[in-house]
Amino acid sequence: MTDLVNSVNPGSDTSPLEGRPARWRSNGSLLLGLSILAIVVAMAIFAPLLAPYDPYAQSLPNRFTPPVWLPGGGWDHILGTDQLGRDYLSRIIYGSRISLSIGIGTALVSGLIGSTLGICAGYFGGRIDSVIMFVVTARLALPVVLVALAIVAIFGSSFTVVLLTLGGLLWERFALVTRAATIQLRGADFVTAAEIQGATVPQVMLHQLIPNLANAIVVVATLEMAQAMILEAALSFLGLGVPAPMPSWGLMIAEGKAQILFEPWLITIPGAFLFALVLATNLLGDGLRDVLAPESRN
């Protein structure tokens, strides 16, 4: 059906770039994801301005104040207070920083590891590819939650440990996607052209491969961000996420877990925020994939 494809996108006088804003605009999930994410990012950046209280300030006599819409709640603490009497709204607002940094940080670490391995495997092929794919399979064979739990249990649950652990575990999708994309690019004539012109391996990677992989990497990074945030919450749920008293949404859910029957709002509020953030990140990822790298859908 090449004929048909060419007639849809004749490649003559119209460019994919021209079509792009329209595609951005017409992609509902992308817009929704982007809007929610923008709100959360704004929350994170302007947290000191938005938060009515210090998120760490405790007030033991005021423990478990319900949110304003429940009996016993008041406008002093719109979302109520937690088990140490800390203002829930302020913790939620500051918590956006933690969840976002876990997500972004993990995506950066895992992106770096995975993309490097993937590009090397795809570009060099042969034995190097076999070895890297072996490592990827070995990594896939290791149960993530179990290993993450073990590592965090050993090294203690600091923010850095959680971030590095998740980053060190969630790179395989980057590796697989960049490898597949690199193998395709590797055969592209423009890469051969650069090699013929005498570009060194780093130059080929930097000038020819990476710009073309960027979209796919961004898409995977978004999806991996969502994955990391969920996993952090799961680790927190099992008691080994970021350490208290950090206002991480996952940790807040974990702390509210004991009260789920009697004070369900304690986990529903951070749960809903986490849900919205992960949903937004996934929507963004899906949307970006449609717009930037439709070929990587398979």
Binding site: I154, P245, A258
Partner: protein, 504 residues
């Protein structure tokens, strides 16, 4: 807004849950359905360490004597009577006609065999402290056994009461440790009829049980034990009537159960105490300075925490022991909440603002965070290092941390020789390593004379308080939530006497 709706839905769900009154399954057929959070490791009593396993063990096995928790007296169990012959010798008269669950009759040989076997290193009893004082057991006649100790041991009777069950020689020879864990045979008021290891256990009242002991005349016919790790699941099952009794319910939840129909809460003060250990031996730690340790004592608003976490008006402890324990000195230096004084002491000791300390939390959820907040208002940083228990223990004794939030149950024994103070004896388990204190402790631990011991321990507790080696917090209580028709109380030794349970 989406989440608002969800919250409402959830709130509605919680309200609905209130409306439905549970119908308890157990009352109808005189059985008891209970749940524990932790898995029962094994039913071989000498190999188990966690509370649920020990509790079930006490249903299955009997010791020579037992302790009356109400009076503190030692009362006969498998031994009809006992006589203390000397500092190192006790004679036991074995009760005639006691049956094992396999209908075998208990003899003095079984007692001698048990006592002589469990003390050996090859037997590898989980708690050496419970058995390592036994030198030998001899049969004097068909009904009398003499126990000889390696050295005078003030805790000998405490150990014999509940911690040293008597096994059947014949069954042990036949089945061994594995048999005891899979199909245990004891003389206890209940026998095991079915189990799925780690999942559920079914106990049946042993009709051949002798009368005369504390555990006689059990009312409940069947005890079904389920292991349910998640507290909320336990609550749901309790509210649905699938469980009749759960315990170790956090204080926060207790208040909510109290208002529910058909459920009642039973709160028992127990031997366990909670406290902060301050490590004076960590390299470069400001805690080496007694003024800093005192400052930390002053900085913490203990009563406010007790009110929040343990329940309004929960009493504090001032020294490193449970006041109900024999020898617990309560007249020691106290440090009431006084942040100004704390700041003053810190300034005096030259501790700079921004100094960082670490805390290993192994206790009530939230306490470490409140401590952190309290110290932060004095300009100190506190890093909460949550570690797996084994790692935490290793690092703590390796002097890698400044503070530990700890709790200690003293094996449920009401004597200070089981209090944490008794371990400040200069050995590996002593984080303080104060030679003067260690000398006192070592003397106290080997003295048989009660008055002498009391006075020695009094000095010990005063020293600990003066030197501010710990921040004593409070004694713990255990909350059990159960059907309001159930009569059952947890003992102060943290054991649950199910043989005393009744349906009203």
């Amino acid at each position: 807004m989406k989440w608002k709706l969800k919250t409402k839905l959830l709130a509605g769900v919680a309200v609905l849950a209130t409306l439905s009154a549970p119908a308890f399954a157990g009352k109808a057929d005189n059985s008891l359905n209970i749940a524990f959070s932790d898995e029962i490791e094994t039913l071989d009593y000498y190999q188990t360490a966690d509370r649920p396993g020990l509790i079930v063990g006490r249903m299955l096995y009997d010791g020579l004597i037992s302790k009356d928790q109400a009076t503190g007296e030692f009362v006969p169990e498998l031994a009809e009577s006992f006589e203390i012959i000397s500092d190192t010798e006790i004679d036991f008269k074995i009760r005639p006609g006691v049956k094992f669950h396999n209908d075998q009759i208990l003899t003095a040989d079984d007692v001698v065999f048990t006592l002589n076997t469990i003390k050996t290193p090859e037997f590898n009893a989980r708690y050496s402290i419970a058995v390592n004082w036994i030198a030998k057991a001899e049969k004097l006649d068909d009904a009398t056994v003499r126990l000889t100790m390696t050295a005078p041991n003030p805790l000998a009777l405490e150990m014999l009461a509940g911690n040293i069950p008597i096994y059947s020689k014949a069954y042990w020879d036949e089945a061994g440790a594995e048999g005891m864990s899979k199909a245990p045979v004891g003389t206890g008021p209940y026998k095991l009829v079915a189990m799925t290891p780690g999942v559920s256990f079914e106990l049946q009242r042993f009709d051949g049980y002798y009368s005369g002991g504390q555990k006689a005349d059990a009312a409940i016919e069947k005890i079904n034990i389920k292991i349910i790790p998640e507290k909320n699941t336990q609550y749901i099952e309790l509210m649905n009537g699938n469980l009749d009794w759960i315990w170790r319910v956090p204080t926060d939840d207790v208040e909510r159960f109290a208002s529910r129909p058909n459920l009642k809460v039973d709160t028992t003060p127990i031997m366990r105490i909670e406290y902060l250990e301050l490590n004076p031996n960590k390299v470069d730690s400001p805690l080496a300075d007694v003024r800093v340790r005192k400052a930390i004592n002053y900085a913490v608003n203990r009563q406010q925490m007790a009110d929040a976490f343990m329940g309004q008006g929960h009493p504090l402890i001032q020294s490193l022991c449970n006041p109900v324990q024999f020898g617990c000195e309560t007249d020691v230096t106290t440090y009431d909440y006084n942040p100004d004084k704390a700041a003053e002491l810190l300034a005096e000791a030259g501790v700079e603002a921004g100094t960082s300390l670490t805390i290993v939390p192994n206790g009530t959820e939230g306490v470490a965070e409140v401590i952190k907040s309290s110290l932060e208002s004095l300009g100190l940083n506190l890093d909460i290092t949550k570690l797996q228990v084994a790692v935490a223990q290793e690092q703590w004794y390796g002097n890698m941390h400044d503070i530990a939030l700890t709790n200690w149950g003293a094996y449920g024994i009401g004597d200070v020789s089981m209090s944490p103070a008794a371990y400040l004896n200069g050995t590996a388990d002593d984080i303080v390593k104060d030679p003067a204190l260690a000398a006192l402790v070592n003397e106290a631990n080997t003295t048989m004379d009660r008055e002498r011991r009391a006075s020695l321990y009094s000095q010990i507790f005063k020293t600990i308080a003066d030197e501010a080696y710990v921040v004593p917090l409070w004694t713990r209580s255990i909350n059990a939530v159960m059907s309001s028709d159930l009569g059952l109380s947890v003992g102060p030794d943290e054991f649950v006497p199910f043989y005393d349970a009744t349906w009203n």
